[in-house]
Point group: C2
Chain length 275, copies 2
């Protein structure tokens, strides 16, 4: 059985909260872990946020996010890689075990998808030693194919694993996010293959119709079409013992009172993910 | 080289045209083939539409569409299968070599994706002998994963092939539609695997941002992110010699004057698909 002891609030679920507010929210709701985002953490200050999390006794399950390094060689790519190094510094200071990587879409005007995918490997090769020095794992997140052109050219767990497997297991892992992978006919086989490569497990639901902004298409568990328990069981069977983050991008959820959202989150998590 | 001699107008691209208007449009634009849709054909009358196409000397590349047979056993499933038999009768009368199948999404209230996928196999087993009697091939269309919940639970070409391969090649084939498969890291390998299973090749582009109604998210070739020539070359190398249908669901395209749309279609087809 999995209960609230593995639940993590991804900060994006309470998007209008500051980092201190999100931390307080976890304490109030009995949620023992938090997935942090760089922008609100920077607003609070990385050092202060790290201290607040430590003082609250919360685990940090991940830092979101790095990546966006599919540009061709040149100043944009260099800037992206530098920014990823800063993100790794922040993750280390925050005590985050992994940095979630959304790799980026096709560069503007390019239709060369194989080349963009190849550049992901090059970026990882540059970042992996730096990440290892800081004790932070790079966590490749395959994205739902609806985002292939403009957000993430890694489209399946199998594809992310094929890339991750070029690196040591403790340096490069993968994110299993139900929203991104639920449709994949290979998902259970690939979760089994992933085994110790699973660096993060995130949950949110696939709702229909998709809202006009597909970035905000994620639903609270139970509001959509995903059957969570078999995916959670598969991730468990693969040996993952880490936190389970609830990460919801949704304008309606964001409009609600954050404490209420966290209450619903706990309830739905216990019903659908643990149930 | 491939030129206009393999180009087919899928009727959906000129959505406001009647079947006779679409046929006239093909003649005016020098397009030698047409992919028909059941609804406008029924408005014209199947027999009359069949005669018009024959008299015009056009090939019929496909009939769209059958499928939507993922319901659990009961009256809805029976009605769906009966409707597919009628579609096969129509395809035979129209001289269409294949019936394109959009298999359907999750039944209302169900989250059992593996079961819905399994029911696709059962439906094909029922329909395949009927289709063979009428000389019409069933053409399974894997759909972009954005439609998995509500339109089509077959999400990859590999998955469609695994199902098709349970049946004789001449009875069950697959549709390769660039819009649905372009993102798939396995697409070239699966096109090669498909070989003589390719029953139809359809093209339209992936545009961003997606419009609010994702069903209307397809763009004219060249307006989006897909590199068509390598996909066309792969389909050719797999042995496909049939027509290449341009099928565009897009409110802006539909608002334009159909003759102008067809002119653009021919030009873009030659530039991007044949180029």
């Amino acid at each position: 059985m999995t209960g609230i002891e593995r639940l993590s609030l991804n900060q994006k679920t309470v998007n209008r909260c500051t980092a201190p507010e999100a931390i307080d929210g976890c304490l109030a709701a009995g949620v023992p872990a938090i997935g942090l985002w760089r922008e609100p953490v920077q607003e609070t200050g990385v050092r202060r946020a790290a201290k607040l999390v430590r003082d609250a006794g919360l685990r940090v399950s991940s830092l979101c996010r790095g990546g966006f390094f599919t540009a061709e060689e040149g100043p944009r790519r260099r800037a992206a890689l530098d920014d990823n190094r800063r993100a790794l510094d922040e993750a280390a200071e925050l005590g985050a075990p992994c940095l979630v990587l959304v790799v980026g879409g096709l560069p503007d005007g390019s239709r060369d998808l194989p080349a963009a995918r190849q550049r992901v490997i090059g970026a990882l090769a540059e970042l992996a030693p730096y990440a290892a020095e800081r004790g932070v794992r790079l966590a490749l997140e395959p994205m739902h194919p609806v985002y292939c052109a403009d957000r993430g050219v890694l489209s399946t767990l199998g594809q992310a694993l094929a890339i991750a497997e070029e690196f040591p297991t403790d340096r490069v892992g993968v994110v299993v996010d139900t929203f991104h992978v639920w449709w994949d006919p290979e998902v259970f086989a690939q979760i089994e293959r992933a085994g110790p490569r699973i660096a993060s497990f995130q949950v949110s639901d696939w709702i229909t119709p998709l809202p006009a902004d597909v970035l905000l298409g994620r639903g609270m568990m139970g509001d959509g079409h995903i059957e969570f328990a078999p995916l959670r069981a598969a991730v468990d069977a693969a040996g993952y013992r880490g936190d389970i983050e609830v990460e919801i991008f949704n304008a309606d959820v964001w409009a609600r009172e954050p404490g209420e959202v966290m209450g619903t989150m706990v309830e739905r998590y216990l019903d659908t993910v643990c149930g």
